[in-house]
Subunit: 272 residues, 2 copies
Amino acid sequence: MAAWSERLAGVRGVLLDISGVLHDSGEGGGGRVPIPGSVEALARLKRSQLKVRFCTNESQKSRGDLVGLLRHMGFDISEGEVTAPAPATCLILKERGLRPHLLIHDGIRSEFAQIDTSNPNCVVIADAGESFSYQNMNKAFQVLMELDNPVLISLGKGRYYKETSGLMLDVGAYTKALEYACGIKAEVVGKPAPGYFQSALQEMGVESHEAIMIGDDIVGDVGGAQRCGMRALQVRTGKFRPSDEHHPEVKADGYVDNLAEAVDLLLQYAHQ
Amino acid sequence: MAAWSERLAGVRGVLLDISGVLHDSGEGGGGRVPIPGSVEALARLKRSQLKVRFCTNESQKSRGDLVGLLRHMGFDISEGEVTAPAPATCLILKERGLRPHLLIHDGIRSEFAQIDTSNPNCVVIADAGESFSYQNMNKAFQVLMELDNPVLISLGKGRYYKETSGLMLDVGAYTKALEYACGIKAEVVGKPAPGYFQSALQEMGVESHEAIMIGDDIVGDVGGAQRCGMRALQVRTGKFRPSDEHHPEVKADGYVDNLAEAVDLLLQYAHQ
């Protein structure tokens, strides 16, 4: 692999995943704790000339609640710096006149407060956690089966995420279940959908070849960003597993122990 | 399409699906009611020279409980005439020294009474109904992720079935969720797995080209049987939907209103 100086040359903007990069999650999405060194690393990054934006698939909490939690942990972050799937979904719903049946976590319901959910003509599925009961899944399934043209919008397609208690099933698994049962294909809003990365890049004002993604998900973060022409680093925190470094399809532009190491390298070698 | 006389000529054995052919299911698998004409049609079929066997993916109830229910409804059926996925799975588990974590309905737990479930080295998933909670799904996921060589055995791969209250998600949807989350492929025991149809044919003592399957599932019953060299009829009862008659991949050898019509035709045209 080329030297870091070569791999990071010309980087002007950094997209950061949040869960597994800034913090680890406790049980039930509560009890989140900063990953050692990340608070300080983010502060250093933001003091540099590099542009920074956050690009998350978080779909259990509203953007406001998420930012509140992160600030409480000491992170320098504001709501306007975060690209999140729920606000992006609301734009799509309004543009297309879609009225969703919501299979979502109560923590994110406020994001959809302005959306008409009467007489649904689509289903929106997010990381509902414990709300992925058989009854709730079956209701979403029945809504889809009654539509002539069933539309399923999935906030991300993650396989799993990591809480302190262990790996947890993410929305992607439940989206696959509905896709199979209904014989349809979901529209994904979130990583690794190319449009989602592109809107984050636009909001940051940086071209893809000048941007780097830092995430803990080899497929969703690294593979997705690379398919958009960006570079991508995987951190060995969060849901990282050693086998990710030998993934059959995706090879990161670099693997680092944590955000702190990534920032060290970026401050040393970007812009060259 | 050829005349019935041609399509049914030479049939010596009949494989019957149970749910949606003999009976419809009430809410929660309870309150099952015979489909009009089916009790009498089965009686006529069994008085004929045709061999009859039942081939079901039922995985919420033990074979004994299922047969008890059917006999109570008036059907002429005994346990030895039924090919069901749970007993077939137990044979596989014993042969391969597999100790399952069971993600199943309580109603079928007795089938696994003789199976060692300590220190699991595989997961068995069946139609667990309300037991498909997030917690139970996540536990099965975690067991699989901790195995070096994760083995997932799925009792059938049905997309959905019909209860009187509406369409209900079947095991196949949840199997897809675990396959996606773990990056693995499940082994299916049940229709439409070829080995499953073949064991039912062996138990009936009839070659595939002399056998016909009657079911309500265009893919699992009709498509699966045809891939084994059998003929297959779809009944317009149970989970049948009018669009099934224009399925893009599977075309039944005939569509009939119900089991009674199928038996009328078989008694008239088989054996010729």
